[in-house]
């Protein structure tokens, strides 16, 4: 907890040194990666389509902030779509972000109900395929604006009173959102619920035999992860005032996997560290065009072959070797080995 408080202080002072928009991008992706890590590190489920929650929440938040009115389709395809129109004025940022998060949670419930039926490799493939389906839906749906995306999303005063047009002021809002999301993840991990999740990761059959409704636990974890990924996406839409197709592509899903892998799967702070590194690298190499893809692929390959525990994972292992605090030794790192 002291580490966390120190990091929050660091975050509060960081804009003095680093460009606030870059920091906000890092925070959004750190939250996204931490939400993803909840599934892979603590439940053992590799969700290869997490970008669908990230990007779709961005679209929803952007739409709520810019237009407000929601038109829901209902009816059958062959009988013609009918529209249920809910007229809302364009919302303030916190309500738009909340709306995006709730929609992401709902999407997570639907996707999770389908995907939880398979494990391991199949789960990854199913989430990837479902994310691609969401991608094609986003390409075709009217409210997303297709290839253009939703542009010029307005940043109304927060809660109606506090002006956040200035990037520096909005940075502290984003920092608060990140802390809230991170605390939710932290409380989820360090709780009886989190212990059951770890039990499921280590030996699902034994957890079932002990009487736990394993599917329900996995689904709840999936929905929490999806909601927090949506929170990250909605916040990102408000930061950049843009929601586009790149946020729902499978390349984005791959990037969050890379961030978590590099930072350390199954560690608390690993994904945030990984996000910072990868975003910094992308920024630094932005002028090199296609080489960014090649370098990301190379980092993937190297990380999987020799660096599986990630940066934070290696650090914790080093501390453990030197007989560190009991807290560090109790974290199991990395993917569970299959029971043979």
């Amino acid at each position: 907890m002291r580490v966390f408080a120190g990091l929050v202080l660091l975050g509060a002072l960081a804009p003095l040194i680093v460009y606030p928009v870059f920091l906000m991008k890092v925070l959004c992706f750190a939250l996204f990666a931490s939400a993803f890590n909840l599934l892979i590190g603590y439940v053992g489920l590799l969700s290869f389509g997490h970008a669908m929650f990230f990007g779709f929440a961005a679209y929803v938040a952007g739409h709520l902030a810019k237009v407000g009115t929601v038109s829901l389709p209902y009816g059958l395809p062959f009988l013609g779509w009918k529209w249920l129109v809910i007229a809302i004025p364009p919302l303030t940022p916190e309500l738009a972000i909340l709306g995006g998060t709730l929609v992401a949670a709902l999407l997570g419930l639907i996707v999770g109900a389908v995907a939880i039926r398979r494990q391991g490799i199949y789960f990854a493939m199913v989430t990837l395929a479902l994310a691609q389906m969401v991608f094609f839906l986003c390409v075709q749906a009217k409210f997303t604006g297709g290839e253009d995306g939703i542009q010029a999303i307005p940043r109304r005063p927060l809660l109606g009173v506090v002006d956040v047009g200035n990037d520096l002021k909005f940075y502290y809002v984003v920092l608060a959102i990140f802390c809230a999301g991170f605390l939710i993840i932290y409380r989820t991990i360090h709780s009886p619920f989190g212990q059951v999740l770890k039990a499921i990761r280590e030996n699902e059959a034994r957890a079932i035999s002990l009487g736990y409704a394993v599917s329900r636990f996995k689904l709840i974890a999936f929905v929490i992860s999806a909601a927090l990924a949506g929170l990250a996406g909605a916040t990102k839409a408000m930061v950049f005032q843009l929601a586009s197709l790149t946020d729902v592509t499978w390349q984005m899903s791959g990037e969050v996997v890379l961030m978590t892998l590099v930072g350390g799967m199954g560690t608390v702070f690993g994904p945030a560290v990984g996000a910072a590194i990868i975003i910094y690298m992308q920024n630094y190499l932005a002028g090199f065009g296609e080489w960014v893809l090649v370098i990301q692929g190379a980092i993937f390959v190297v990380a999987v072959l020799v660096f599986r525990r990630g940066i934070v994972g290696e650090l914790l292992a080093l501390l453990r070797q030197r007989g560190a605090k009991a807290e560090a030794t109790q974290e199991t790192i990395g993917l569970a080995k299959p029971a043979r």
Partner: protein
């Protein structure tokens, strides 16, 4: 009858043929994935990139060496297969003792590298590749281009030949035995690691063959494999990775269904395979031809 459906026969059968062709590619690619996964328990995400490499090899053989399509049909799968053997020996073989998901991540990284390098070199817009058998024949209810008919017939032949080798020959028996108990099979004196390497090379060669077949139809560009591989994953989930014949049937079947959807409800044509996947997962999680756990 066609007036009742409201669709002219040319459109219906034209899309059906296109659906068969797409199905042929789905079948070839999911067959390669199933063969590789069956023996190595590794999901080869690089499959899409290797499909693209096959198409590019055909193009390069033509542009740099003047080797026409029929030579490329044999050479390209061998070249890309050798590349597959190389990455298996260097990278993938180091992960067999770990969780299968690491194999997926590794091949994903390799796919990014390959795609990035090709994009760097050739850009994203496509390169043209000449149709080796131009022209076609008018069958009355539709126009059948020779090349597309050739693609369907040839891929069906290759799929059935692969099925025959795996299910009915001694080599296939060794392969299936090594899938179930590699340690015992190795105790009998069969070189299992070499068989694994060659199997991976064969699966990669199948992907490259699909790429060569695709080159005259779709233009040769570095991103041709990326979106296709995800649809192939959905095909594999629907079919279940258990049986070879299952992959072939599912691949062709889903291609046809996608083609029909393009005729009757075009907006859903991109997503119909994923919707079917969701339905199959709800009703029969192990896939249509998979074995229940």
């Amino acid at each position: 009858m066609f007036e009742l459906i409201g669709v002219p026969p040319q459109a219906l059968f034209g899309q059906l043929l296109l659906g068969l062709i797409n199905g042929a590619f789905y079948a070839l690619l999911s067959l390669g994935l199933a063969v590789i996964f069956g023996l190595m328990n590794v999901i080869n995400f690089t499959h899409g990139a290797q499909y693209m490499m096959g198409a590019f090899s055909a193009w390069m053989l033509l542009s740099y060496f003047g080797i026409p399509y029929w030579g490329a049909l044999i050479l390209a799968p061998i070249m890309v297969g050798l590349f597959g053997v190389l990455i298996e020996r260097l990278f993938i073989s180091r992960l067999y003792h770990l969780d299968h998901l690491y194999g997926l991540l590794l091949t994903f990284g390799l796919a990014l590298i390959v795609e990035g390098l090709f994009r760097r070199e050739y850009g994203i817009s496509g390169l043209p590749y000449a149709n080796p058998i131009p022209g076609g024949t008018n069958l009355g209810f539709m126009f059948l281009p020779w090349y597309r008919g050739w693609v369907v017939v040839f891929s069906l032949t290759v799929c059935l030949a692969t099925w025959f080798v795996i299910e009915k020959t001694q080599l296939g028996a060794y392969l299936r035995a090594a899938t179930e108990r590699p340690d015992l099979v190795q105790a009998f004196g069969i070189n299992v690691p070499r068989m694994i390497t060659l199997t991976y090379g064969f699966g990669v060669g199948l992907a490259a063959l699909a790429g060569v077949l695709a080159a005259p139809i779709y233009s040769v560009n570095p991103v041709m494999g990326a979106n296709l591989i995800i649809v192939v994953f959905a095909v594999v989930v629907i079919g279940g990775m258990g049986s070879i014949m299952g992959s072939i049937i599912t691949g062709f079947g889903l291609g046809v269904i996608e083609g029909l959807t393009k005729v009757f409800y075009p907006e859903a044509s991109n997503t119909v395979i994923f919707i079917i996947m969701a339905v199959v997962l709800m009703l029969r999680p192990q896939g249509l031809f998979g074995t229940p756990k």
